[in-house]
Amino acid sequence: MKQTFAIGIGGAAGQGVATPGDIFAKIFSRRGLHLNAYNAYQSIIRGGHTLLTIRTGTEKVTNMGDRLDLLIPLNQDTMDRHLQLLTVGAACIYNADTIKPGPAADGVQLCPLPVSELADISRNKVAQNTLAMGAGLHMMGIGFQALEEVLREQFKKKGEAVVAENVGVARAGYDYAAAHFMAFPNPIPKTENRYAILSGNVAMAMGGAAAGVKFYCAYPMSPSTGVLHWMAAHARKAGIMVRQVEDEIGVINMTIGAAHAGVRAMCATSGGGFALMSEGLGMSAMIETPVVVINCQRAGPSTGVPTKTEQGDLWQMLGAAFGDYPRVIAAPLDIGDCFKLIPEIFNLADRFQCPGLVLCDLLLSEGRLSVHPKDLDFNQSIDRGELIMTNGNGNGASIAAARNGDYKRYKITDSGISPRAVPGVPGHIHTVATDEHMEDGVLISDEFTNPIKRRAMMEKRMRKVAGIEAAVPPPTLSGPRDADVTLIGWGSTKGVIEEACEILNEEGVSANQLQIRWLVPLHGEAILDILRDSRHTIIVENNYSGQFARYLRSETSFVPDGHIRKYDGEPFMPHHIVEAVKQQLAGQTKLSVPMHEIMV
């Protein structure tokens, strides 16, 4: 099994959980280590409970894992919730002045810090956090220099006195641990690699910039807001127009307006905002103006649990807006893929002049992962499809050139794709309409209804579906073809299923994985070809009703042998899947709903 080390830092919102988290993340990344971070938090600005898990290792760390090696509770509540989950070899560093430990398992090291003796707590409100970081660092076998360097950067703006004070407090924690606590047996390793650490939201925003997005607008909604924040902060450098607007209805319509003028335009939201965008998506499809819309799923329905993860919006995406129309839907597989997917889906949306939908979720949106810088390559190939633009304002063009000519915006073609001229191009004047229309854009909805023309236009648009299917690769199986069990997942569960397969293989159950990235087009035949050979199939998904299982059945008639589902707001941990697979292979159940043991 992979050698990893996981730290949990917990406390009330506002107690400063994020800062030590960021600092540890930086230290690990500068040691050339991979990491995965997940913050279990609540919809509260001050108070409540939040637990940040940072897991690091020399190999790719795809999920939060099953165990904590080091717990740093910043308040009694965190101690009470999580100490009992620590197992042999783990340690807990806490403020002995204010926090009392409960019963701990054998082999768990309790590390009380006499905070008021080690630091002036009247001056430094977060002294306990800084002391704990210093102590933890020593126990992990990392030289103090690493922490000092990050603290200097962190507090540089506040002046030398603040830097010196924080470095001093951290040093006191470091030295105290050297004298009083037992170090972990395996020091945290070091490699020569360098990784970028980023969230899925940042990755999707950067992927948008790399795809050539020039217009981004949004209405704030967790957990998608991070995309807006990155876009807003980097807009001027990247030359992107970023607007925060009145509601998600405004968002989708402005995005379509900008796209119609000829730029690449994108927006992101969560399930509730996506519901408001539904009518607009139909317009994008009907007027054949491509946009990319990201839905960062959170636990629903309705306001639901805004800070918790779920894969519960698949059918909303499949059914968004009324009527039949071509669309593309993809679910990124990990945070690196959040970057890579955006230019790919823009190329498809542009080529096929239809909406491209990205189905992300809180786990990826707000989680953080180490990604190799070469996987954040901005030099992406851009295919804008059949687009007619001018690179000027048309000044001096003659009136004759401004006449319509014989340009037909919705020309009927074999591919269903009609060359798209944008406003401002002489000689291509036309009106686009959400009403059904003829090839030249004239309505056939009111005065000139005509069943033959209506049918021809429906078929023209829907012919694009075949082209989209040919442009998207079918999914592939990873792992041995003749495994005992095939685990089928989609989107963000890739990492945790991968690790569950590794554990199963080590424990004598051979497992392989079929992870779906492109939901529309699905490539049902290719999936059936794979699953026909599988001995035992289980669909793993983060929702109540098995939304993907129902979709797969509707497209292919395929019924799996079992299901593993979770809808408590928290993501899967590897052992949840491993234990459920074993139970199902032993014939104990066909539907497992693992209990999330961590109270967050």
């Binding site: 790399a210 009145e246 119609h260 009136i399 401002g424 309409a433 959400t434």
Partner: protein, 299 residues
């Protein structure tokens, strides 16, 4: 619009502005007068037709773009202003006209109406206000008067109507005017001013529905409308005075330019990202050194 209005190198004619099909409005509909006035204004301003985008929502008057020979978008009910905002920000060299009705703009589109005005998006928004829902065969609209009987309120409307002029003034529109489709020359002049105004121009036009509104007819409006331009005391730079005028209703109803200010930046003018010209003409690629800095800040 204003600073970037493009001029055609040759004289335009009314025929140049005529769309592919003729309007399917009821004979006598007020919207014919608005269409003619808009076409006349574009001819007189000599704006190349391919640089104009006419954007509408849904409703009788929203069929408008199809009757024009400009680029057009017939969008969703109430959403024309949002679509127009995105389009204008992506290519601010285009002249953007937004057309629609009172239900489209003040009912379902009320949210976008208010926010577009406070943003000072540079476009002309013409509402063909007939105080009724026509395409859905005669229901009460946000501008229907109290007591008006319609199919949806057969015993008379009990809700107070919105006052579009006061609302526009309060929301920060930088050009606020009212026209009457029975006053062609006056209306054409207001449209020209609205197109040339730098910022959000709101033009509410009394455009009688001859089929479903038997209260607010041409005959009802004609003796009541009084041109603000004929009132030498009216100062369109005085916001308070404009607000007071906006409240007049009854025997005397003012039409004309209530208010204009040009000291407020347009939305596109306030955004430095557009300093190098329209986004649509820019390079799609992020410069390599900028891209590198984006990745390095994560390391």
């Amino acid at each position: 619009m204003a600073t970037s209005v493009q001029r055609a190198s040759q004289q335009l004619t009314m025929a140049d502005l005529k769309g592919k099909v003729d309007p399917d409005w009821c004979p006598g509909c007020g919207d014919f007068g608005v269409l003619a006035a808009v076409q006349k204004a574009l001819v007189e301003l000599r704006i190349p037709t391919y640089n104009v985008v006419t954007i509408s929502g849904i409703g009788c008057s929203s069929n408008f773009p199809g009757y024009m020979n400009t680029y057009g978008m017939h969008t969703l009910h109430g959403r024309a202003l949002a679509v127009a905002t995105g389009l204008k920000l992506a290519n601010h060299e285009l002249t953007v006209l937004v057309t629609g009705g009172d239900g489209d703009g003040f009912g379902i589109g009320g949210n976008h109406f208010v926010h577009s005005m406070r943003r000072n998006v540079d476009l002309l928004y013409i509402v063909m206000d007939n105080q009724i829902y026509g395409l859905t065969t005669g229901q009460t609209s946000p501008t229907s008067r109290i007591g008006m009987k319609t199919k949806s309120m057969p015993f008379g409307n009990i809700e107070a109507p919105v006052n579009p002029i006061s609302l526009a003034l309060a929301a920060g529109a930088t050009f606020v005017a009212r026209g009457f489709s029975g006053e062609q020359k006056h209306l054409t002049e207001l449209i020209k001013q609205g197109i040339e105004h730098p910022g959000f121009s709101f033009l509410d036009v009394f455009s009688p529905c001859v089929t479903y509104n038997h209260d607010n007819t041409y005959q009802w409006f004609r003796p009541r409308v009084k041109k603000l331009e004929d009132d030498s005391a009216h100062d369109p730079t005085n916001w308070m005075a404009a607000m007071e005028k906006s409240l007049l209703w009854g025997e005397e109803i003012p039409i004309g330019k209530f208010f204009e200010r040009t000291d407020v930046s347009t939305l596109h003018g306030a955004e430095p990202v557009l300093n190098n010209g329209p986004l649509v003409h820019g390079d799609l690629k992020v410069p390599p050194e900028v891209a590198r800095s984006f990745v390095e800040e994560l390391m």
